[in-house]
Every structure is written in structure tokens, then in C-alpha cells.
Amino acid sequence: MSVQVPRLRPGFRFQWEPAQNAHVLLYPEGMVRLNDSAGAILAEVDGQRTVEAIVATLEQRFPDAGPLADDVMHFLQDAEQQHWITLS
């Protein structure tokens, strides 16, 4: 399990947008509308907790979803490649 800590890159903001009924990621002159699972994962990214801790929280919140480690890591790596977050 990963002890890496995901963190939003400077200039990125994550928030809930009622008009879009979705979480969004805002950055310089850009906006990504997130699907439910991406929103749920990014909501746990606080720059403090490890991937492991985030997975544990999500598995507790969504007990019917089964093991989530792979899905979460896959999304976070993708988000890192998009330069939304850093993993360190």
C-alpha cells in the first residue's frame, strides 16, 4: 500500500458546484467536471493523508464497493500525469 501523499498542485481548487451537480477542479482558465468517483477521491485529498489512509476512508464510506486500492491509485496516477496533483 502506498505511503505517498497526494496534494493538489498550486493554483488548483476543488469544490462542489450545485449548478453542475458535481465536484469540479478549477485551475487557471480551466475547469474539469468530475464524475462521482473522481469527486469522492479528490474530496479526501488534503495534502496530509497518505494514499493508504484515503483508501481506508473510502472503503469505509463505500462498503459495498469492495477493495478500492487499485482504482484509487489508478485515478491518482492519472491525475498526476494530468498535472492536477503531485504524489510524494
Binding site: G11, E17, A19, Q20, L26, P28, M31, H83
Partner: protein, 383 residues
């Protein structure tokens, strides 16, 4: 529902304006000859008050706008900018300041950050002081821009640098990218000139040749690869000019679909160029933003596709590009309903081809351009 007599079944569903562009003022210390402001901007001196702007921000946010741009002109000349930034933050906007960097200082950069500004985009005119200052019509601009780019970085903002590219600086791509790397930019916008406003007026003196463009794009691609190989997060955004495309862009993602611009005098527009169209646009002084966006004839004018003539009407790509840009259609054909002549299916595509041929043989220097300043602007509305 049974018994429904709804006749609006074919009307497109109108989503909220997610992006709000607040053009706070047309005043600007620079004179860039490709400025997107209207040619007759000096005619519009009645700016909205602070209270009126605050009301616009509140209404926009309530409707769902999340991205907010402060631009102009030079937005820094508005003394109430810190108040508007604070209001924007409190409302939950992601706010972007689009600035020349002139009038900025380190104190303001930090004060804006503390008030909640998310991002400052500094525009440059070239990679060296001589050309930069000649294009900007200001002798001290380049040094000031460098200093402000550094201050922005130091204050912890994401750094976005914008370069408008034209035939007089398009040979500098590698130098520009190197400069941005040294400054530690996160995003670099290499925006080749689009021809509206002052840029349309100066098109012959600005438009690069096809050969120049091909070379520039190759240089950008090469540097992009090098950056990727080096693990750099600096992102290069190269905007190709419409005039070298065979299909039009999906302008503004469709008329009145996402973008709402409010001009300095309160005129509400579906894009920052639309003021040049022979359409009456509503004003926030007289109408709520809600009724402007959903109900005004100006904003409904080109929604959907029932307004389209041929060749757009029967085109299977109309859902993709919405017939292109209404302003370009108007500037090049005299009728904003027409297909954007960028499209090779447009009967007026020869205008684009002629402009390309002209660009191959253009000889105009920087001194031949019409610079954007009040004196030149008055030429466009003096009777």
C-alpha cells in the same frame, strides 16, 4: 406528458454561463496593434461602478458561473480591483487576472493573493525588450513584465504567461519558451493572432505566412517533447490561427452556451468580440443577468441551429462547430448568419485563401501598423 402542447421540443436546452469575463475597463497603458477591444472603444467611457460590478458577480455566481476573468483594457487601472477580488473569492469563484503587468507591483501581487485571487496571467509581446516594447508601444514594458512574472511566482500563484504571436515575433518561439522556462512558468500560451478588433484592422501587417507558421509549430513541438522528456510540468499551449484551418472552430463552444462577457459599460455579450456585430445586446444596468442570459434576443440570436443558412444547414458537422465564428462571418462576408469563411465549404472561403496569399508577400513593418490608443480609436467614430 400526455396532453402537453409544448412546442419548444426542438429548442436547445440552455445551460448556465459557467464562465464570466468581466472586462472592467477599456483603459490601458499599452497600445498593442492586435488588441481585441473594439476599434471605437474610446467612445465607451461610462464604466460600471463598483456596486454594479459586485451585483454582476453575485448574479453570475448564483446562476452557476465558476470561472471568472478580470480583464480589459488593463484591469489594474480600476482602483476597486482588490474589492472585486475579495468579493469574487467570497462568492466561490476561481478568479483570473489577465494583465499586462503594467501598474502591478510586488505589494499588489501579495495583496491580491491575500484577497483570494487564484491566478495572474501576465502577457508578453516578445522574448526580448526591443521587440516587446515596440509592439506594446511602451519603452519600459519588458523589464516591468519580467519583474512582475517573478513576483507572481514568488507569491505562490500558478504562473501563466501569454504571448500573442504574429509575423513579427513568430521566429522567436524557441527563445520565448526558453524565457518561460527560466521564469518557471507553469503554462505558456502561444496564441497566434486571431483577426478581430484591432488585429483585423492590422491583419496584413500581422498575419504570418504558412512557412513561418509551419516552422514555429515544429519548434514548439520539439521543445514540448524535450520538456516532457525532462519531466517538466510546464505546459505549452499553441493556438493555431483560424486563417490556416479548413474547418472553423467551435467558437465559444457555441453561442450563449458557456461564456458570458460583460463589457466596461455593462453591455453583456456572448463573447468579447461580439460587440462588432449588428445585433442589439442587453446591458446589466437595465436587465438582470438571468433575463439577459436566458431571455434576451441578443443571447438567443444564434442559439441552436435554426438560424443557419446553407452550407451549414445541411452540414453533418454543424453540431460540432456550430458554423464557426459569427464575428468572423460578419467581418469577412458582411452577414453574420453565414458560414465562417474559414470553412472550405463556405462560398467565401476565397477571402481566407486571399489573406494567406497576401501573407506570403507581406512587407509591412511594425511602423505600418495602426496602434491601439485613444487617438487612433477616435478615427473610427469621428463623423
Amino acid at each position: 406528458m400526455t396532453g402537453s402542447t409544448d412546442t419548444s421540443a426542438q429548442a436547445p436546452e440552455i445551460g448556465p454561463p459557467l464562465w464570466l469575463l468581466a472586462e472592467l475597463t477599456y483603459r490601458c497603458p499599452l497600445q498593442c496593434p492586435y488588441c481585441s477591444n473594439p476599434l471605437d472603444y474610446a467612445q465607451n467611457e461610462q464604466e460600471l461602478s463598483t456596486e454594479q460590478w459586485v451585483s454582476v458577480l453575485r448574479q453570475g455566481r448564483e446562476m452557476g458561473a465558476a470561472q471568472l476573468g478580470f480583464s480589459g483594457g488593463e484591469p489594474l487601472v480600476r482602483q476597486d480591483l482588490p474589492d472585486l477580488i475579495a468579493e469574487a473569492r467570497q462568492l466561490g469563484y476561481y478568479s483570473n487576472l489577465i494583465t499586462s503587468g503594467l501598474g502591478l507591483n510586488e505589494h499588489k501581487v501579495r495583496a491580491f493573493r491575500d484577497a483570494g485571487l487564484d491566478h495572474i496571467q501576465v502577457s508578453f509581446q516578445a522574448s526580448d525588450p526591443e521587440l516587446n516594447n515596440a509592439v506594446a508601444g511602451s519603452r519600459k514594458a519588458f523589464e516591468q513584465k519580467l519583474a512582475m512574472a517573478r513576483a507572481v511566482k514568488e507569491a505562490g500563484y500558478p504562473m501563466v504567461l501569454n504571448f500573442v504571436i504574429h509575423r513579427h515575433n513568430i521566429h522567436q518561439m524557441t527563445d520565448i519558451i526558453d524565457l518561460c522556462e527560466r521564469l518557471g512558468a507553469d503554462y505558456v500560451e502561444l496564441a497566434t493572432c486571431q483577426y478581430y478588433g484591432w488585429a483585423f484592422k492590422n491583419r496584413e501587417g500581422l498575419m504570418p505566412s504558412k512557412a513561418q507558421l509551419v516552422k514555429a509549430e515544429a519548434e514548439v513541438n520539439q521543445r514540448r517533447q524535450q520538456l516532457a522528456d525532462a519531466g517538466s510540468a510546464m505546459k505549452l499551449i499553441f493556438v493555431t490561427p483560424d486563417y490556416y484551418e479548413e474547418r472553423p472552430k467551435a467558437c465559444m463552444n457555441g453561442w450563449g452556451s458557456l461564456f458570458l462577457t460583460v463589457a466596461p459599460d455593462g453591455t453583456a455579450l456572448p463573447c468579447h468580440s461580439a460587440r462588432l456585430l449588428p445585433i442589439e445586446f442587453p446591458n446589466v444596468r437595465e436587465q438582470s443577468l438571468q433575463s439577459i442570459w436566458y431571455d434576451s434576443p441578443g443571447f438567443n440570436h444564434y442559439r441552436g441551429d435554426s438560424w443557419m443558412p446553407e452550407p451549414c444547414r445541411s452540414c453533418d458537422e454543424k453540431g460540432k462547430d456550430f458554423g464557426g465564428c459569427r464575428c468572423q462571418a460578419y467581418l469577412l462576408t458582411g452577414n453574420a448568419d453565414n458560414a465562417d469563411p474559414v470553412c472550405s465549404k463556405s462560398p467565401s472561403h476565397d477571402r481566407i485563401l486571399a489573406a494567406r496569399r497576401a501573407a506570403d508577400h507581406a512587407t509591412a513593418g511594425l511602423e505600418d501598423l495602426s496602434y491601439r490608443n485613444p487617438a487612433n480609436s477616435r478615427l473610427f467614430f469621428r463623423s
